[in-house]
Subunit: 564 residues, 2 copies
C-alpha cells in the first residue's frame, strides 16, 4: 500500500475534521432562495480540499464538500420552512459533478474511505428523508456530466432532469476506470429506487461514457431530458409543480441553527447537553447525554420561540456532532459507553410536547432529526454499551439510546444511602413509533421480532418507571447487577470488548443490529457498503498496481484475475 | 500474507476438487435409515482432509466434509422418499462439531475461504429447502459441543435438541478466538431465523464457552434440553412427531442418483447434456446446455421410471456440477458464456409434464432441484452472459438461464440460408412461478420490478416463440444484433468484460442481481458474506500477526485498533 495521507489525527499530527459549518463559510456550495424554491449550487473550489494532496477538479468532492452539503440540507429544513422544492445544480460549465475525487480516494486510508462513503450516503439519505417526510422535494438539474458519485447525488433527488445539449450525460465509470463499485449507494439506488432493469443497469454501470438523451429516459436513468433553450424555464416550472404538492407552511419564520456550544480540552469534548471523555488507555469513549434543565415549553409556538436552544434540538445536534467526531477523529476508540444524566420526568414532558404537536412543522423536523441521529448511531461501526446508573434519565426519547446499544447493563438497586436513587427505565410512546431504524422497524420491534408478546407487555408498561428487575423481565436490558457486582462485571465487560478484533466486531454488529426486513437504506449500509469495503481493501483496487493508484498515471492496472 | 496452500489447480499443480461422491465412498458421514427417520452421523476422519496441511480434529470440517454432507442431503430427497425426518448427530464422543477447521482456513487462499463458505451455506440452505418444500424436516441432536460452524449446522435444522450432561453446549467462539465472523451464515440465522434478541445474540457471539442447559433454551439458542438418560428415546420420539406431519409418501421407491457421465479432456468437460469449453486466453468458459433428445415421458410414473436419466434431472445435476467445477477449479475464468442447443418444443413438453405433475414427490423434487441449481448460478461470482443463437432452445426452464444472466444478446434473424433458423425465446409457466431466486422473487418479477406492466405483457406471450424483436420489446433480452453486427458486437462485449477488475465485477453483480425484497438467504449471501469476505481480507484476521494465523501458536494476535 502507498503512504496513507488521510488519517485520523494522531497526537495532533492531523487537523481535526469538523462537521460544523455555516453558509457564510461555504467554499463549495451556494444557497439561493426564490420563494418556495431553493437553488443549491455546487461550485467546488479546486484548491479547497480538506487536506493537501489533491485538487477538486470538475466539481469532484471530498468529505469537506459533503459536510457543507449536509449542513445545507439540514438548514433548508429548519431555517427555511417555506422552501418546498430544492433544485441541485452545478455552478461550473460542462460538468454537473464528477463524483468523489479519485486522487483523494487513492491517498486515503481504508478507514477514511469507508467513513467518507458512509457520511456521503447519510447526506443523500437526509435528502430522501426530507422528501419522504418533510414535504421538501429534490430536483437534480443535471447540465454537464454527472459521473459516478455525481450521478449518485442526482439519484438522491426525486426527479432527475438532464439538459439535451448533445454532451450532458449520466454515467457510472468506476468499474471500468477505477475497479471499485460505482458511487457507493448508487448501484442500490439504480435497481432498488429507480428500479432500472438489472441487465440495463449492468450495461450502464460498465459504460465509461454513460447515457444521454432519450435512451437515458427510456432506461429510467433520468426522468426527463429538456432542450437547452427551455432548460431554465422547465426546471423552474417543475420545481413549482413539486412545490404545489408540499404541506410545508407558506409564511412561517425559520429557526436558525447557531453555532454549537462546544469546547475541546485534551481528551474531552463538552457540549451543553453532551459530554465525551475519551479513555485512551482502555479504548473507550464515555459519552454522557444530559436531560433537559429547563421545563418543557407549553406548546409548539413556545418551542419554536426557544429556537435552537429547544432541548431536543440542541441535544440532537450535539449528539450528532459527537458521533461524527468519534467516527472520524477517534478511530482507535472502538467502544462507546453511553450514559444519561438528569430527570426522567423532564424528558417525558418534552416527549409529551413532541407527541402532541407532530403537526407543527418545527416539531416534525425535530422528531425527524432525532430519528436520523439515532439512525446514524445504528450504522456507526463502534460497539455501543449503555450503562443505566443512578441519576440517569433513560426515558422516552433517551431510552432509545439504551435500545440502540449492542448491550446494556442496569444497576439493580443503589450503592447505598446517599448514592442516589435506584435507576429506572421508562418507555414512552416515541419508542413505539417515532424512531424507525433504517430497516423500517422501531428498535423495540426489532428487539422483539422473536417474542412479540413481550413487546405487547412492554407497551402496557408505557410511561411507568421500571426498575432493574422489571426492565430485565420485559427484555429491555441485557444485564442487571447489584452494588456488589456492578463495578467488576462492568469493568470485565468493557475490557473484554476492547480486546476483540475491531474488524470482527464491526462485521458482527452490522449483522446483529438489523434483523428483519430490509429497505433501500439498509441495503446500502449492509449489502452494498460491505462489498465496497471489501473491494476497497483488495489489491486490484487499492494495491500499488491497482486501478485507484494507477488512474491518471498512464499505466494500466495489473489485476489478479482470480474471481473470489 | 503467509503462503497460500489451498489454491485453484494451476497447470495441474493441485488436484481438481470433485463435487461428486457416493455414500460408499464417504469418509466422514454415515447414513442410516430407520423407517421414516434417517440418522445422518458425522464422524470426521482426522486424516481425511481434502488437501494436506491440517488434521480434521473434533469433527471439524473442510470442503471435502461438506461435499459429502451436500451429497447426503440430496440423496435423502431423491433416493429415500419415505424419509420424513433427518436427525443429524455426531459419531464422536464429547463433540458435536467444532465448525470449520481453523488450520485449513489459515492456510487457505482468500478465494478458497470465500468459496468454501458459500458452498457450506448452500448445503445448509438445501437442508432448509427440504424442510420448507419437501416435507423432510431436520433435527440437530447435539451431544457434545457445537461450536461456530458446528452450531451453524445445528441452526440449519428445524429443531435443535441439546443433551443436558453438564458439558454439551452451543457456542460461537470465532469473534474472541479468531477475529472472524461466527459461522458465515450463523449470525443471520441467529437473529433472523431463530430471532434471538439482538443484545443476547451479541453476548452469545462473544462468549467462547457458549451456553448450555436452561439458558440456551430461554435465549432460544436451542429448542429443548433433554436429560442424558432420556436422550435417545426423546430424539426418536421427536423425529417421529415431525415425521407424522410430513406429506412424503410412505412406500414409494426412490430414484438412485448414479454417477454422472462426465469426461475431462484438456480445457473441456463433457457431460451428457452440458459441455464446458474453457478459452483460457480470453478468460471465458463457454457452457452449452443441451435440450432433451428423447420425448417427454407421458406421466409422472413414466418420468420416475426414467430415474436419473430423466432429462431435467440429468441436466440439473450436470449443470450444478459444472458451476461448482468452474467456481472452485477455474478461478481465473471470470466470464461464463451460456448457450443452449436443441428443440425448444421438446423443452416445453418436459415443462408441461413438470407442471402437470407437481403433486408427485419425484416431480416436486426435480422442480425444487432445478430451482436450487439456478439459485446457485445467481450467487456465483462470475459474469454470466447468455448468447441466443440459431439452434438454441431458450424455452421455459432453459429460458431461465437467459433470465439469470447479467446480460443477454440475441441474434436478430439468421446468418443466411443454411445457417439455421432465426433463434427464438419462449416463456413458460415455470418462468413465472417455479424458480424463485433466493430473495423470493422469480427472475421475471425481479426483472420487471420497475415495469410490472411489461411483466403482464410477457405473461400474455406465454408459450409463443418470440423472435429477437419481440423479445427485446418485451424486455427479455438486453441486446439484439443482426448477422452483420453479431460477431463484432459479441466479441467486443466479451473482451471488454474480461478486462475489468474481477473484484469490482463480483461486487457489482452481487448488488444488481438482487433488487427488491430480502430473505434470510439473500441476507446471508449479500450482507453477511460480504462482511465476512472483508474480514477475511483484513490483516487483523488473515495477516501474519492476525488471529487466524496465530491461533494455536501460543502467540496473541496483534490488532490494528482502528475501527473502519
Amino acid at each position: 500500500m502507498a503512504p496513507e495521507a488521510i488519517e485520523a489525527p494522531v497526537a495532533g499530527a492531523m487537523p481535526r475534521i469538523d462537521f460544523q459549518t455555516h453558509p457564510d463559510r461555504y467554499r463549495h456550495w451556494r444557497i439561493e432562495i426564490d420563494g418556495p424554491i431553493a437553488f443549491l449550487t455546487m461550485a467546488v473550489q479546486e484548491n479547497g480540499g480538506l487536506v493537501p494532496g489533491y485538487e477538486l477538479k470538475l466539481n469532484s468532492y471530498d468529505l469537506g464538500v459533503d459536510i457543507e452539503l449536509a449542513d445545507a440540507v439540514q438548514r433548508l429544513r429548519f431555517e427555511h420552512p417555506g422552501v418546498k422544492t430544492v433544485v441541485i445544480r452545478s455552478g461550473h460549465d460542462r460538468v454537473f459533478c464528477a463524483g468523489a475525487n479519485i486522487r483523494m480516494l487513492s491517498i486515503s486510508s481504508h478507514a477514511h474511505k469507508v467513513n467518507f462513503c458512509k457520511f456521503t450516503n447519510e447526506t443523500r439519505n437526509a435528502m430522501e428523508d426530507a422528501s419522504a417526510f418533510s414535504g421538501q422535494r429534490y430536483i437534480a438539474a443535471v447540465s454537464g456530466t454527472a459521473a459516478g458519485g455525481g450521478y449518485e447525488l442526482a439519484l438522491a433527488a426525486d426527479h432527475i432532469m438532464l439538459v439535451d445539449d448533445k454532451s450532458s450525460a449520466v454515467s457510472c465509470p468506476e468499474t471500468p476506470l477505477l475497479a471499485v463499485l460505482p458511487a457507493t449507494g448508487g448501484l442500490t439506488r439504480i435497481v432498488d429506487k429507480r428500479k432500472v432493469r438489472r441487465d440495463r443497469a449492468d450495461v450502464f454501470a460498465t459504460l465509461e461514457e454513460g447515457f444521454r438523451g432519450k435512451r437515458a429516459v427510456e432506461w429510467r436513468l433520468v426522468d426527463e431530458v429538456v432542450r437547452k433553450s427551455a432548460w431554465k424555464d422547465t426546471v423552474r416550472q417543475r420545481a413549482l409543480e413539486f412545490a404545489g404538492k408540499s404541506d410545508r407552511p407558506d409564511h412561517a419564520a425559520g429557526v436558525s441553527l447557531g453555532p454549537l456550544a462546544r469546547s475541546f480540552d485534551g481528551d474531552a469534548v463538552s457540549y451543553r447537553n453532551v459530554a465525551i471523555a475519551v479513555d485512551r488507555e482502555r479504548g473507550i469513549a464515555n459519552v454522557t447525554v444530559r436531560g433537559p434543565d429547563t421545563p418543557a415549553p407549553k406548546d409548539a409556538d413556545a418551542a419554536r420561540a426557544e429556537g435552537d436552544t429547544f432541548w431536543p434540538l440542541t441535544m440532537a445536534r450535539e449528539l450528532d456532532d459527537a458521533i461524527l467526531h468519534l467516527r472520524l477523529n477517534e478511530q482507535e476508540i472502538g467502544l462507546i459507553v453511553i450514559r444519561t444524566e438528569g430527570d426522567p420526568n423532564s424528558v417525558m414532558e418534552f416527549d409529551a410536547l413532541l407527541d402532541a404537536h407532530q403537526g407543527d412543522w418545527f416539531i416534525r423536523e425535530v422528531r425527524l432529526f432525532l430519528r436520523r441521529v439515532f439512525s446514524r448511531i445504528d450504522v456507526t461501526s463502534r460497539t455501543l454499551i449503555a450503562l443505566i446508573e443512578s441519576g440517569s434519565c433513560f426515558a422516552g426519547t433517551l431510552a432509545e439510546l439504551a435500545l440502540a446499544a449492542d448491550r446494556s447493563a442496569m444497576l439493580d438497586g443503589t450503592f447505598g444511602p446517599g448514592s442516589g436513587a435506584a435507576p429506572t427505565l421508562t418507555l414512552g410512546v416515541a419508542n413505539f413509533s417515532a424512531y424507525a431504524m433504517c430497516n423500517g422497524l422501531t428498535r423495540l420491534a426489532a428487539r422483539f421480532l422473536g417474542e412479540p408478546e413481550t413487546g405487547v407487555r412492554a407497551r402496557a408498561a408505557l410511561g411507568r418507571p421500571l426498575n432493574a428487575g422489571e426492565s430485565a423481565e420485559l427484555g429491555l436490558v441485557t444485564f442487571t447487577y447489584d452494588k456488589t457486582d456492578w463495578a467488576d462485571e462492568v469493568r470485565i465487560m468493557l475490557e473484554e470488548r476492547a480486546s476483540f478484533s475491531p474488524d470482527a466486531l464491526t462485521g458482527m454488529e452490522a449483522n446483529l443490529r438489523f434483523a428483519g426486513p430490509e429497505t433501500m437504506q439498509s441495503k446500502i449500509f449492509g449489502r452494498l457498503t460491505a462489498w465496497q469495503n471489501w473491494i476497497f481493501q483488495r489489491p486490484n483496487a487499492a494495491g500499488d498496481e491497482g486501478a485507484l493508484k494507477r488512474y491518471g498515471t498512464g499505466l494500466q492496472p495489473n489485476f489478479d484475475r482470480r474471481r473470489v
